[in-house]
């Protein structure tokens, strides 16, 4: 075995002075890290997805007893058929989400960052993992990332005290000050992914028109910038970034029009009335987007924090949020577990479909990683410890499924974020409050 000495990239640059193109040096790999678990593993895992559930869980019905998944507790029961391709991870926490709130649960889930307490436009969080991934692995596809949610209604004035609604509504942030709105309308997502449809020729023509309209925006904003004072110019620079981004997407779409292996699909027109049907359609769109390689990074908020959605279809006619303030009332706890199970069942169906869709030598699921969970642990206490987390897929990257990883000490969720990012090919040394990696999620390589 090769002994690797940890050396940060910064050290290298300082030490060598002038830069010359370096192959990834052994010395840059963190010491004692199996090579497969680091950047060097030109990963076969090419996509990553995150699914969020609000308001934590009922641990008694979620946390498996042993270290394997031979018996799944009721909340995870729907994953039975696919359990060899998942890992249940327990005792992870989000210290930066404290003091406990709904807004920070959602905001910290993918950023592991502390949300600046403000109701105004000076909100500040951190770049979220999906957007970090989008920068590295999303650039080859038409959409660097896809942000989806289930709630079309937008509420006003009802967000957590002291926190702007953006924290509660947006899982994805492309910078600490740029929350990315998500889309809940299946038709609009379809159009983002596949346009209006039509023949390849039509689609190319329409992309060309979009490019020239973008050009109008670009030249006008250049003109505007000249007229503005220095304090306002930095804002304009943000617009240019968006313009370049849209430009890139158009080019990407142009080049993929002909290669697109997708059949002509029926555009979904409305929003299915039943929650489960809507969620299934949203998962189906993720599958299609992956299959067509239109995007490689997806976030999906299955419900919003403080959602008062009722689930009469599974025998929980009570609104979700008040139920989760269970006060250890066994009836309410049972309802929390039921909602947990219902959400997991939708995820499980999707995983099964992914596993049944062939790709390369395996399935779509084998080449994808999904992290599913909540930024809140015990919703009654609004705490952010012992979070419910499930990791799925990853077989092509040697993820060892069928296990329950139980940390003895509370461990930052950022460790898992870092591990997963590295695994899909993002060369990151650290992330937020990470103090390590989740070492045995993936098989070490035996040399």
């Amino acid at each position: 075995m090769i002994f690797k000495k940890a050396l940060s990239r910064r050290t290298i640059l300082r030490g060598l002075g002038a830069s010359f193109a370096l192959p990834l040096l052994d010395a840059m790999l963190p010491a004692m890290t199996p090579i497969e678990q680091t950047v060097a593993a030109a990963s076969k895992l090419k996509r990553i997805g995150y699914v969020y559930i609000p308001m934590g869980f009922n641990p008694a019905k979620w946390i498996p007893e042993g270290d394997d998944l031979s018996t799944l507790p009721s909340s995870l029961q729907p994953l039975e058929a696919i359990k060899n391709q998942i890992c249940v991870v327990t005792n992870m926490d989000l210290q930066n989400a404290y003091p406990g709130s709904h807004a920070t649960s959602n905001a910290a889930f993918l950023s592991a960052a502390r949300a600046k307490r403000t109701e105004s436009s000076d909100y500040y969080l951190g770049t979220t993992v999906d957007q970090v991934a989008a920068r590295y692995i999303g650039q080859q596809t038409q959409l660097p990332s896809l942000e989806m949610s289930m709630d079309i209604l937008s509420t006003v004035g009802q967000c957590d005290n002291g926190y702007a609604c953006v924290y509660q509504n947006n899982l994805s942030w492309s910078s600490p000050t740029t929350p990315l709105p998500s889309e809940a309308h299946p038709r609009i997502i379809f159009e983002m992914l596949f346009g209006e449809g039509g023949s390849a020729e039509d689609r190319k023509e329409s992309l060309k028109k979009r490019a020239s309209l973008l050009d109008v925006v670009n030249s006008e904003i250049h003109g505007l910038k000249r007229k503005l004072g220095p304090s306002d110019r930095h804002k304009i620079d943000g617009y240019f970034e968006s313009i370049r981004e849209v430009e890139r997407r158009i080019q990407q779409a142009e080049s993929s029009v002909e290669e697109n292996p997708l059949p002509d699909l029926d555009r979904p027109v409305g929003v299915p009335v039943a929650y489960a049907d809507h969620a299934r359609l949203m998962f189906d769109l993720q599958l299609l987007a992956f299959q067509g390689d239109i995007t490689r990074v997806v976030t999906f908020q299955l419900a919003r924090e403080t959602s008062t959605r009722t689930y009469p279809e599974i025998g929980v006619p009570d609104p979700h949020h008040p139920v989760t303030h269970h006060g250890n009332n066994p009836e309410k706890l049972e309802k929390v577990a039921k909602i947990n199970q219902f959400h997991v069942s939708l995820f499980g169906e999707f995983l099964e479909k992914m596993a049944a869709t062939p790709e390369g030598e395996g399935s779509l699921l084998d080449h994808s990683l999904y992290m599913y969970g909540s930024g809140m642990g015990d919703p009654d206490a609004h705490d952010h410890s012992n979070l419910p987390i499930v990791v799925a897929g990853g077989a092509a990257g040697q993820m060892r499924g069928g296990r329950h990883l139980r940390f003895k000490e509370p461990t930052p969720l950022a460790n898992l974020h870092l591990t997963l990012l590295n695994k899909v090919g993002v060369p990151l040394e650290t992330f937020a409050d990470a103090d390590g990696r989740v070492e045995d999620l993936f098989d070490p390589v035996t040399l």
């Binding site: 307490r117 109701e119 105004s120 436009s121 937008s154 509420t155 006003v156 004035g157 009802q158 967000c159 005290n161 702007a164 609604c165 953006v166 509504n169 740029t178 929350p179 990315l180 709105p181 889309e183 309308h185 159009e191 983002m192 209006e196 039509g198 039509d202 028109k209 979009r210 020239s212 309209l213 973008l214 109008v216 925006v217 006008e220 904003i221 505007l224 007229k227 503005l228 004072g229 306002d232 804002k235 304009i236 943000g238 617009y239 968006s242 981004e245 849209v246 027109v269 409305g270 008062t308 009722t310 279809e313 006619p317 009570d318 609104p319 008040p322 006060g327 250890n328 009332n329 009654d380």
Partner: protein, 810 residues
């Protein structure tokens, strides 16, 4: 004497009537703004003595009533007042922060401090101190004016975009289909609108193409689809407003069709979870109407073999439609025999298969796809507006396009058009001309106008000569946009732009008459549907879904009726220019049959809303008695006195409860609390001083409303327990029930008026109201007091206030 720190920019001196700010401000704001470089006049002796009297009153109150708690290392509320001296207000330099003093003033005005269990000043002292504080802070503002700074670049939000398209192109669109929602800040969705994410940019591009295609019409390569689904919890047993009398249920769809031709309309009926069509007994007729004229009828009945799979598969027809807006109605002619059946049912709501099933079939979905066999374009309102000229020969194409684009750009960009502006639209025009015809050229050119940042953004620039710390009047054109976006949530019209271009819009008498004109225009309805709907949380009604076991009578019809009642009350005040206090205190409310039944008020028949005189026994009238507000502040299973109280503090009294302190201690033993009532639980909660400081303010307000259940129905009992609506207000007075609560709120009307003013100012400026806006708000309120707070006087006061007219370069 303080250095005079207001630098008028050269532009403001030379381009504008130099006396203008003085006139406005002296007349309306009692703010003396001395132009240019002259020093302020020395204070007269009487003012000096008034000052020292004010200072003495304030300081003695601080000493006697505040310092017991607001002192030491751990002062109450984190506010240490030991070093606070009233003379600082006038003496401190320009960077002094007035916010703690403004907060103190507010808390005293609301009689929230000192707390009820402390030694409290007399009412006379309260009055004297709040007056002195306001006077000192207002005087200070004369020397150190801070009109604040709106963001330089503000994107039209979704609502504004939709209205702008309506006014620019005579085209009604549903922007929620095209653009993502904005996030709300400071309670409004037009505040954080400075960014342009890739998603938004993408959507704007798509929207510009769709809208220009729709406005010009024709040129569709493939048929397009529109699918309308009705909410699953809508009852369809009664007449729907807008559809012919004698029909029940169904939907009225107003839609603009892009081309003339035949359109396929297909219907689906509501099914229950077993996939059976609900309420399908006997024979039923379904009519399809276009602009109220019947164009097709269908018969449906229960199949003999009970298999309902294909019952609605045959509900498809093709109808010829001309381009432009049409109202497509789909409805059931009322069967007289069905009436008796309905009346036997105990509930008003009819959509739940298990508890209160539908008595007759209902429409679930209407799909319209087309056009097939496209025909030549017909005239539409949009085309009439756009094609003001037509080329007589190909040689005229270019010149005509210029005329068309000039008019559109002037309106869309809200400023005179420059030669450069023509470049892009004309280039697009040429391409369209080449691909198709003149119309397609205009369509392409229009799409280039609609993505132009001059349309999408409201831009307020610093004058080139402005220096740091300068305060300057915004330009006439910027003012025109501020006005129209405030009152109409849309583009300024020709008259406003014209006045701005002549440079006379900012004259106070012109502004005043424009405010009146804009308020009287139909477009000011946006103050109801956009402003009031956000202020009062009406937008949250859509996500209010009460527990159907507890409230079997609730359906979407009632939800929509709730919204309408409140919108009508606000619109009534706006149209009649009544006192804004009439929102809280009204002996008229607006009802239709559905809502009147819910409220237990007899003799209101039919689906339309009308004003209804109410008596004390009806328990209806003011906002706090509206089902809308009572329900959006409730949980789905019960009322929440805390949320209702917090709502009143935020939206009526303007003293929002502070955020809960970090590390809120948990209730000791939650299991032991299970059998307690909400009131008992909250009583326990308030025993903890950390919780009490806020819950003492919130809970009693909410308890006073507890006669209204979670859907706003009147009740005297909750289950078996009598409702207790008593509570102790922050000032120590006892209030019991809605009548006394309203009286208590109206005792100090300036609190409610200030809150509404602050909300309007936030909405009008698109920024949060700061402590430095305090003097302007007080001035608007006292100015409006003379007219007993007529709505138009408040709007006028805001428009003439420094924050609205001016801007500062920090």
């Amino acid at each position: 004497m303080h250095a005079y720190n207001m630098h008028m920019t050269t532009r403001s001196i030379y381009e504008m009537d130099c006396r203008f700010p003085v006139r406005i401000l002296m007349g309306l704001l009692t703010l003396v703004l001395i132009p240019c470089s002259i020093s302020p006049s020395p204070l007269r002796a009487s003012e000096v003595s008034a000052d020292s009297a004010d200072v003495a009153v304030i300081n003695s109150l601080l000493k006697d009533s505040c310092l017991d708690c607001h002192t030491g290392n751990e002062p109450s509320g984190g506010l240490n007042l030991e070093t606070f001296q009233a003379q600082h207000i006038m003496q401190a330099g320009s960077d002094w922060d007035s916010s703690p003093w403004e907060k103190i003033t507010k808390r005293l005005q609301a009689r929230q401090m000192p707390p009820a269990d402390a030694v409290r000043p007399s009412e006379e002292t309260y009055l004297a101190v709040t007056k002195a504080l306001s006077r000192q802070l207002d005087q200070r503002a004369q020397n150190f004016m801070h009109p604040g700074r709106t963001d330089t670049l503000r994107r039209l939000n979704r609502t504004e975009y939709q209205n702008a398209i309506r006014d620019l192109l005579a085209l009604e669109i549903d922007a929620t289909e095209l653009l993502p929602a904005e996030e709300a800040s400071h309670g409004f969705d037009n505040v954080t609108v400075g960014t342009l994410s890739p998603v938004l940019l993408n959507r704007y591009i798509t929207a510009s193409q769709l809208i220009s295609r729709l406005a010009v019409g024709g040129h569709l390569k493939v048929p397009h689809g529109l699918t309308v689904r009705l909410p699953p919890d809508i009852s369809q047993e009664q007449h729907v407003a807008g559809l012919p009398l004698g029909t029940r249920g169904g939907a009225l769809i107003e839609h603009t069709f892009p081309a003339s031709g035949s359109y396929e309309i297909s219907l689906r009926l509501m099914r229950d979870r077993d996939e059976n069509i609900e309420g399908l007994d006997g024979k039923h007729q379904i009519d399809i109407l276009v602009d109220r004229e019947k164009r097709q009828e269908f018969q449906v009945s229960r199949p003999k073999n009970k298999d309902m799979t294909n019952v609605d598969a045959s509900l498809v027809t093709r109808i010829h439609l001309t381009a432009g807006p049409h109202a497509i109605g789909v409805t059931f002619p009322q069967l007289s025999s069905a009436l008796e059946e309905i009346k036997r049912q105990p509930f008003e709501a009819h959509f739940n298969h298990h508890r209160h099933p539908r008595q007759a079939p209902a429409i679930y979905e209407v799909s319209i796809v087309g056009p097939f066999e496209q025909q030549p374009m017909s005239q539409t309102p949009s085309r009439e507006l756009i094609f003001s000229v037509r080329p007589q020969s190909p040689d005229d194409n270019h010149a005509c396009a210029r005329v068309i684009f000039e008019k559109l750009m002037h309106h869309a960009y809200r400023r005179p058009v420059t030669e450069e502006d023509f470049d892009k639209p004309l280039a697009f025009f040429e391409q369209g001309l080449e691909e198709g015809d003149f119309d397609l050229g205009i369509q392409y050119g229009l799409s280039a106008i609609l993505v132009n940042p001059n349309f999408l953004f409201r831009i307020e620039q610093d004058p080139t000569s402005a220096k740091q710390g300068d305060i300057y009047p915004i330009s006439e054109l910027e003012l025109a946009s501020r006005l129209s976006f405030f009152i109409w949530s849309s583009l300024p019209d020709e008259q406003l732009l014209g006045l701005a271009e002549q440079g006379i819009l900012s004259k106070p008498e012109v502004l005043k008459s424009q405010v009146q004109r804009l308020l009287q225009d139909e477009r000011s309805l946006s103050l109801v549907t956009n402003f009031a709907s956000q202020w009062l949380y009406l937008k949250n009604l859509d996500s209010f879904n009460p527990d159907l076991r507890e409230f079997p009578d609730f359906d979407d019809n009632l939800r929509q009726a709730f919204r309408k009642e409140t919108e009508h009350l606000f619109a009534h005040m706006l149209r009649e220019d009544l006192s804004v206090l009439s929102l809280l205190d009204s002996d008229v409310t607006f009802l239709n049959e559905r809502l009147a039944t819910h409220y237990g008020i007899n003799h209101v028949k039919g689906s339309h809303f009308r004003p209804v005189k109410v008596t004390q026994a009806d328990h209806r009238g003011g906002l706090l008695r509206h089902g809308s507000i009572l329900s959006v502040t409730s949980y789905s299973t019960r009322t929440s006195p805390t949320i209702r109280g917090s709502w009143i503090l935020k939206n009526v009294l303007g003293t929002p409860p502070p955020p809960p302190p970090p590390n809120v201690p948990a209730l000791k033993d939650k299991v032991a609390l299970e059998n307690l009532s909400v009131r008992e639980r909250l009583d326990l909660h308030r025993e903890n001083p950390a919780c009490a400081s806020c819950h003492d303010l919130m809970d009693p307000l909410g308890f006073a409303l507890d006669n209204y259940d979670a859907t706003g129905r009147w009740r005297n009992f909750e289950h078996d327990l009598p409702i207790d609506v008593s509570g102790i207000m922050p000032d120590g007075s006892r209030v019991s029930g809605i009548e006394e609560l309203e009286a208590c709120l109206l005792k100090h009307p300036e609190l409610f008026v200030s809150t509404l003013t602050e909300k309007l100012l936030t909405f009008g400026l698109g920024r949060g109201v700061e402590a430095s806006d305090g003097p302007a708000v007080r001035s608007v309120v006292s100015h409006a007091a003379d007219s007993n707070y007529r709505f138009s006087k408040i709007v006028e006061g805001i428009v003439l206030s420094p924050p609205f007219l001016m801007r500062e370069l920090p």
